[in-house]
């Protein structure tokens, strides 16, 4: 009948995985080698050699670099995903995107330039012939 109001929400973290949950703010140069999950606030820069998941409640004011990324929250800054970037319906991106492959769900908001292709090496360095420009 009476449910516990102070319910603990503890995601099972894999070894080396970083979780920035709601209620926490990170400022500065955040670099990681393992997977990163963000549901909280980040300002500065985010970089990981593995996958990055940006949840619906996340507010990111930073340049983001990852091997692959799934975005459901708000990102103000450039996104660079070497392999794959997935923008979910709830995502808001204000910044340029450079990625190998992209998937954009209906409802996703992107305000910036999208560059993509196999030859992508760095956020702003190399542009591929198949450069697309998209502003919604």
């Amino acid at each position: 009948m009476f449910k516990d109001k102070h319910k603990s929400d503890m995601p099972s973290s894999a070894p080396g995985e970083t979780i920035i949950a709601q209620g926490v703010r990170v400022e500065g140069e955040f670099h990681s080698q393992g997977d990163v999950v963000i549901d909280g606030e980040v300002a500065g820069s985010v970089e990981t050699l593995s996958s990055l998941t940006i949840g619906e409640t996340a507010k990111i004011h930073a340049d983001v670099k990852a091997k692959s990324a799934v975005v459901a929250g708000e990102v103000v800054g450039n996104i660079f995903a070497t392999e794959m970037l997935e923008l979910l319906a709830t995502s808001h991106v204000k910044g340029d995107i450079v990625t190998g492959r992209i998937s954009v769900a209906a409802g996703a908001q992107v305000n910036g330039k999208v560059s993509m292709g196999e030859g992508v090496t760095s956020g702003r360095e190399k542009k591929t012939p198949s450069e697309q420009e998209e502003t919604t």
């Binding site: 109001k5 102070h6 319910k7 603990s8 929400d9 503890m10 995601p11 973290s13 070894p15 080396g16 995985e17 970083t18 979780i19 920035i20 949950a21 709601q22 209620g23 926490v24 703010r25 990170v26 400022e27 500065g28 140069e29 955040f30 670099h31 393992g34 549901d39 909280g40 606030e41 500065g44």
Partner: protein, 245 residues
């Protein structure tokens, strides 16, 4: 050569007499009996162990609990001897995580001598094995001198884990875990849930304007700044098959 260090609460309590006798018999049967040193109120554990090491002891076995382990960790880690435990009575979380059963059964695990090197955490020059807790966390953390972490929730707690059920104490890192209370909904209909942030780190610093309390392996420290680091694979411990790492 083994040295068995009996904590004073065991010697004072009659209910452990029979168990101690069984342990001593089993150790003799297994051929690993050794010198017995007894801790007492005005006897310095570190000094006793240093003397035994000079006499050629290579394995220190604590007969006691987590509190007894805490008394010897510094000197054992500095002298590169192997540390074992025969847990007796309550407050034996460390032994459980190392896979050592209570009482007489621990003797067989000691005899099997499965030695693992584990990381040791350090806070303001003081070593710890399991972890630290800060129940009322309203400070700023600087992680590896690169980024800062703060809690924006009204209520939060911090835990630093080295040896725990979900961490590997051999990876050269500790985990800083922040549990922040996040409320969803309005007024009396709102529900509070704790969201857990996890940061695997090698070093971190906690700063606060007012003195704050930090519990090191259960013991309180109070300061405005705490510098936390890790000493990789420093401590050699005897573990059982049931260990959590």
């Amino acid at each position: 050569m083994y040295c068995y260090l009996y904590d004073d609460y065991i010697q004072e309590n009659k209910r452990f007499e029979r168990e101690l006798l069984k342990i001593e018999n089993r150790l003799t049967d297994l051929g690993i009996a050794g010198k017995v040193s007894r801790l007492a109120l005005f006897r310095n554990a570190e000094e006793m162990i240093r003397d035994e090491i000079q006499r050629g002891v290579s394995t220190i076995v604590v007969v006691g609990n987590d509190e007894t382990m805490r008394k010897v960790i510094d000197v054992v880690a500095d002298n590169e001897v192997v540390l074992g435990i025969i847990p007796i009575g309550p407050n034996n979380e460390l032994a459980r995580m190392m896979g050592i059963p209570q009482g007489e059964a621990a003797c067989d695990v000691l005899s099997a001598r499965r030695v693992e090197k584990i990381d040791v955490g350090i806070v303001n020059g003081r070593r710890f094995v399991t972890g630290l807790t800060m129940p009322n966390f309203h400070a700023e953390i600087t992680c590896e001198d690169k980024f800062r972490v703060t809690s924006v929730a009204r209520q939060a707690e911090l835990e630093v884990r080295n040896l725990a059920d979900v961490t590997d104490p051999r990876d050269g890192r500790f985990e800083a875990v922040i549990r922040a209370a996040v409320k969803k909904g309005w007024g009396i209909f709102g529900r509070t849930s704790f969201k857990e942030s996890v940061f695997p780190l090698r070093s971190m610093a906690i700063r606060s304007e007012k003195p704050i309390s930090l519990f090191v392996d259960g013991e309180e420290m109070r300061s405005t700044r705490f510098d936390i680091g890790i000493e990789p694979l420093l401590l050699k411990v005897i573990t059982g098959k049931a260990r959590v790492f």
